[in-house]
């Protein structure tokens, strides 16, 4: 009897552990609605870069698209690469947040994208509902806001999607309300930030050799 109980306890302990390891599911996706992020604490994401982030010519060289866009909609957060971790409060799901945006493309500096596209911004509201909810964002980076204009630096992915990721991957453009109704390549050229990225494209440095993909939003 004692042996059976002991075996059950040991079995349950190992079984539970095995079950948890087994639920380390990859590439699962779950979604949440658009959440007000202004009152949430920020948890900076940190990584190791494959290029010199301080060199704008390299920053433009490594991406597939550089374009001026207006944020039309924030479609909430999706979570990729969800794993299950054991925590002091039991198992918790840990996914990587990507914020979905609908963007109106106004001008292409590098690459040629169609007028209305969807992008995934690396970062957003954290999934962890056991601990503190917060905003995950890289250094020198910010989450785009609806109705504002940015220069976006995007990577085409194998699945045809576009990811915006890392420092200065959406650079704010100060466009007045009057200008915003009729933005052309000519009117954009008067903005110093635009000029800076146009020149960076003309002098782009491709420091990383990599397999490049084509997004489903190319013209």
């Amino acid at each position: 009897m004692t042996i059976v109980v002991a075996a059950l306890i040991v079995g349950a302990a190992f079984g539970f552990n095995f079950f948890n390891k087994d639920t380390n599911v990859k590439n699962a996706v779950s979604e949440v609605e658009n959440v007000d992020t202004s009152k949430l604490p920020i948890f900076p994401i940190r990584g190791s870069f494959v290029y010199d982030v301080n060199n704008i010519n390299e920053a433009v060289g490594i991406v597939d698209y550089v374009f001026v866009g207006k944020v039309v909609r924030n479609d909430g957060t999706i979570y990729k690469g969800i794993i299950t971790m054991e925590s002091e409060n039991g198992p918790k799901e840990v996914g990587t947040p990507y914020t979905k945006y609908a963007i109106q493309v106004i001008d292409n500096i590098k690459g040629a994208l169609i007028d209305t596209i969807e992008v995934l911004k690396h970062g957003g509201v954290s999934q962890d509902n056991k601990g503190n909810k917060g905003v995950f964002i890289f250094e020198d980076d910010l989450l785009p806001e609806v109705d504002k204009f940015y220069i976006f630096l995007g990577y085409a992915q194998k699945d045809g999607s576009i990811i915006i990721s890392g420092p200065n991957s959406n650079v704010p453009l100060n466009v007045s309300d009057k200008q915003s109704n009729n933005l052309t390549k000519q009117s954009l050229s008067s903005l110093s930030v635009y000029q800076q990225y146009q020149e960076a494209f003309e002098n782009q440095i491709i420091s990383v050799q990599r397999e490049r993909f084509t997004s489903k939003y190319e013209k």
Partner: protein
């Protein structure tokens, strides 16, 4: 005349001494500084217990050894007796990063870039990400915790100073 000459020589010597002193003072401050983040993944027992399914787990083990060489026994492989503090997994994504660490307890190693890299470069990234899990922030290009991947596999004085400061906050 002679007196003035000696005074002049003395002045030059003092000036030189001051310059050298300044140089050393400058060196001391610029070559050693501590960089820590607002978060870390170390548990209340001052351990970082790792687990994972990354194909680069052996590089993580090497990286743990590099940090443990300075403070022994802090980073440990997860066992059934302890709760994992950090989970190391792989991603394949074009995003400019060889590895990423999140406050939620996950390290992502990016196969998209790392698959073409040398063992040394992969180990640099694995060690660097463990550094973030320990609470260290980005420092200068000659450190393991410099923002850009390198072939450095030895802790610099900055890395050690940053680790000391991070450890004092666990």
């Amino acid at each position: 005349m002679v007196t003035t000459g000696i005074l002049k020589a003395k002045k030059i010597w003092l000036f030189a001494l001051a310059a050298v002193t300044l140089l050393f003072a400058f060196n001391t401050t610029s070559f050693s500084a501590a960089y820590v983040q607002s978060w870390h993944l170390v548990d209340s027992g001052k351990h970082l217990d790792y687990d994972g399914d990354s194909i680069y787990m052996s590089h993580i083990t090497t990286g743990a050894g590099i940090w443990n060489g300075y403070k022994s026994g802090v980073i440990r492989p997860d066992s059934i007796w302890v709760i994992e503090d950090v989970y190391v997994t792989d991603i394949e994504i074009a995003n400019g990063y060889t590895g990423v660490t999140y406050a939620s307890g996950k390290i992502e190693l990016n196969v998209y870039y790392l698959s073409d890299h040398s063992t040394t470069r992969r180990t640099n990234t694995a060690t660097h990400e463990l550094g973030h899990a320990l609470g260290l922030d980005h420092s200068t290009s000659t450190d393991i915790m410099g923002p850009i991947q390198t072939t450095i596999l030895t802790l610099s004085q900055n890395d050690k100073d940053s680790y000391d400061l991070a450890y004092s906050k666990y």
